[in-house]
Symmetry: D2
Subunit: 308 residues, 4 copies
């Protein structure tokens, strides 16, 4: 069992949860999808996140998804999303996930939090609930949670809780925040891993600002893997060339709510999962949207050919 | 097992969840509290609501609270709060609660809902998830959920789903909404039971506007029982006299967040539960707040003496 | 011309803006209403606040209201609400108001502010815009603005800007905040005047916690005047007796949105203004609401008789 | 004087407001910028919008900007943003703008609106306030306003008010909304012009879904002009090729809050305005951000060269 830590780098793909067309959990596709992600170069996975349709799973199903994913990951690190309205559920899910071999848990702030004090107190309660031996990823996603956490407040939280080892960074705009966090570390604050979300649409700049990699669910994980690798090699121009080829689709996939349907469509098309089915209330892509996505993929392939 | 229906009237007390001083569930106090509520005249109870610290309970504890409450209620109707971020959890909790003998379930809208269409679709999904044989209470509490539902949209939902038999009314201002709903019924729309929340602070006017009773957790349930009874007898002046005697404390108890600490303090003082302990992150009353509450109770007793 | 300062005490009534039945500004009623407020014991007035229908006035009308009110106030302090989406408008309105002889201006935070840093920066910009010689009232009303400011952040703002001399306190719950602010002052922070809003429904406790008075628009300002006076004399029991007599109506008047219609109805009934007319989109009280208010007033009068 | 109407097509650039380095209004740059926009092919302009720093202008300055822009536009249509917290200000600004020769006014919903009824009522009040002879653009920008308006509710508003002739479309995701609106028109509802915002990042798909053009402030208006033209000619592939070349910068410019700084930087660099200065509280681009923008522009130029 490997745990994430404050030096963790690379690409953790946010995994979707595959369902059969009748809406039942598709365990076979979980295995296939996990293989697919690692074949494309993923360093780890994150499951049961916002894109994982976690709220549509029963507790037993959540455990099942965790088990199947961990087994197939063969020791690669898997982070489990445990955000919930109450600390009790967070504690229960964390214990179950860590007992099964998870590498850490991810917690987004509940949307009622407002003042810096409330946010700081919340993460104190989370750490007390899950225990200081469990590595925690703080998900900073104001567009979805409504909670804005300044770089300074993140610093207060990181200082107080060494077990919060990673930031899932998806503030928007968020480039300055990465710079601010790294500058504070340069002045002595302990290091935190920063993996970036937001569908990857700022990954090139984020890497140059000091991010350690990506944690998002773009259906072409090889883009993230290569952009992160090229950036680490200092080959920013090549990274940006590659990034630009994928950007039109990334932009389309970033649409709130709609994004998951796009991702599942592409993953099914690529053979990673058997069906693009979402559980209610998720809706499939319209015929027009499918056509738009197909056009974007065709253009993407042509453009990638030009890069080779 | 009795189910609530669209003619249900009376007082359903929103029950708190008693904990021992070490934070463990206090099963003995659950029994004592249930007895207390019925001795004071409650017609039924509602458990695991926002004031019931439900998010702080594990799933097993939620089941335990439901079991103990239902057993001690000896056939009196108990509504179970099942609001959750996802339909799967709502379905699971509902099944468990109804199997144990609950009288119905209560569902508040998740805070991301905005347009009328989204709200209508949400309750359609809820009814499909729990099944049309389960009586549902729609909790309309914009101050807490951020979701505003117009009287017209409530009507659309009620027309579409006969199994939504009751409105827990706590819009603020909300008197006109009761009038609007009753007028629509007078013109032919099917009847829905309306029990009022908001800590009871508009109970007298609400009864005159056409409410069927109260569903809130004021620590002196006898006030609600008597105001509802007197109102039903047309003795509005007497109802208001009684109400006014309790209003200063009701007002204090209505403070968001702080209210539960006040209620537990008063319930412990009245012997209904052993300890006012809340689970984290709930905080106990400050010494100054305790003094204010004690003063209000003393004055309330003197005033009630004058009414006798 | 008198300016407010950090020692200002007493009752500043939030004045409504009287309109004739055709919606035109009723200058004659402004004079009558100003007289009424001072006759009832007001120490000062606040105009063009949220309850003053300020957004429905043209800039010229706002100036006219300010002029008429200041002239009739004959030297008594008048605070002018200048909250606006942009600093330019705040600067313009402030200059106009102070040139006319206002005692200070009141600024609520715009609803987009979230982090403590953003809130602190906002008030720095406000003070830079209006100038450090203009006394500023910080209106802390999260229920309306959506902006939560902790006691600690208020302290940071007060320390940085001596010209912010007063807090219009209407957080809810808010009693602990008064205690926290006064305790910080006891430890050396400079004093700020605290006048309380929230329709007056916590005025007795607020005075005991250290408030300097009230700043709200309850249509019976004599209640506020007497409660503040009795509290300052240490006669808390008498203050609470008086308060309780008015509480049923205060509670009714506190309803968001509806409250202004109630206030204007009562002020018209008491002869302070000629008409209860609001400008669009304000709506008059329904017949049922009028009946409820009339009943509450009758009961209030009977109860006050008993106190004499 | 030309007015917009329900058939208006093309590109209306959202103009910034140029300031000198000392923060004063830079009238000379207004003229230069207006020329620049039209030279690049703009069909019209929109001023005093969210990106126009309107809240930072005094009323007199707003009038001055309107005058200068209209004069230099020599009969081309100029829409004026008049969103304000109150109807009185909307009425005043509209009258001033239309008297000066504006082609119409744009109104976004205030953020407190929630239910469909409230939204419908708001635009009824707006139309009554400005008069039915003034063409109105409804700005649908939920990310900024927090107000979500369904396609159905837009339809109700459009049916009720023929003077609302245009939708500034910037819902996200929003492609289905364009399809829904056009389908309703195909079934008989009167036509409304749809110009798209959102920094242009979905312009190619939007045009294919039935939009009439763009209304946003991307600092390379020639992209919008050419994409709209190519789309109208059915040359979607060419439109997308061009679009893709600009997308990396568009994406960067779309960052909320930061976007205006990027736009002013690019406009100054291109010689359209003298200085990138924003008024307080706007901040200039950091050195790192400038470098990122410069890199994106260089890459964009190289890519455009390849297309020629």
């Amino acid at each position: 069992m490997s745990l994430i830590n404050s030096s963790t780098k690379g690409v953790f793909v946010i995994a979707c949860t595959p369902f059969a067309e009748d809406g039942s959990l598709d365990g076979e596709s979980i295995g296939r999808m996990v293989d697919f992600y690692y074949e494309k170069g993923a360093d780890g996975l994150t499951i049961l996140g916002m894109m994982g349709e976690a709220p549509k799973l029963t507790q037993a199903e959540s455990i099942e998804v965790t088990k199947l994913t961990l087994k197939r990951s063969e020791g690669k690190p898997v982070v489990v999303g445990v955000s919930a309205p109450g600390l009790a559920a967070i504690g229960e899910l964390t214990k179950a996930a860590m007992d099964l071999g998870a590498a850490g848990v991810m917690v987004a702030p509940p949307s009622a939090l407002r003042t810096d004090e409330q946010i700081v107190a919340y993460y104190r309660n989370v750490v007390e609930t899950v225990g200081t031996d469990v590595p925690v990823v703080l998900q900073d996603f104001p567009l979805s949670t409504g909670v804005q956490i300044s770089a300074k407040t993140l610093g207060v939280i990181f200082e107080a809780h060494p077990s919060i080892v990673m930031l899932k960074h998806e503030d928007w705009p968020g480039l300055q925040k990465i710079t601010d966090l790294r500058e504070a570390e340069a002045k002595g604050r302990r290091r935190t891993s920063i993996l970036c979300g937001n569908a990857g649409v700022f990954l090139t700049e984020e890497m140059q600002r000091g991010a350690d990699g990506a944690m998002t669910g773009f259906a072409y994980p090889e883009m993230m893997v290569d952009v992160v690798r090229l950036s680490n090699e200092g080959r920013y121009e090549a990274a940006q060339d590659l990034f630009d080829a994928y950007l039109p689709l990334m932009r389309y996939e970033q649409q709130p709510g709609l994004g998951l349907a796009v991702r599942k469509h592409v993953l099914a098309k690529r053979g990673a999962i058997a069906s693009a089915t979402q559980r209610r209330p998720g809706a499939p892509l319209s015929a027009l949207a499918v056509k738009e996505v197909e056009t974007l993929i065709e253009r993407q392939m042509r453009r990638l050919d030009l890069l080779r």
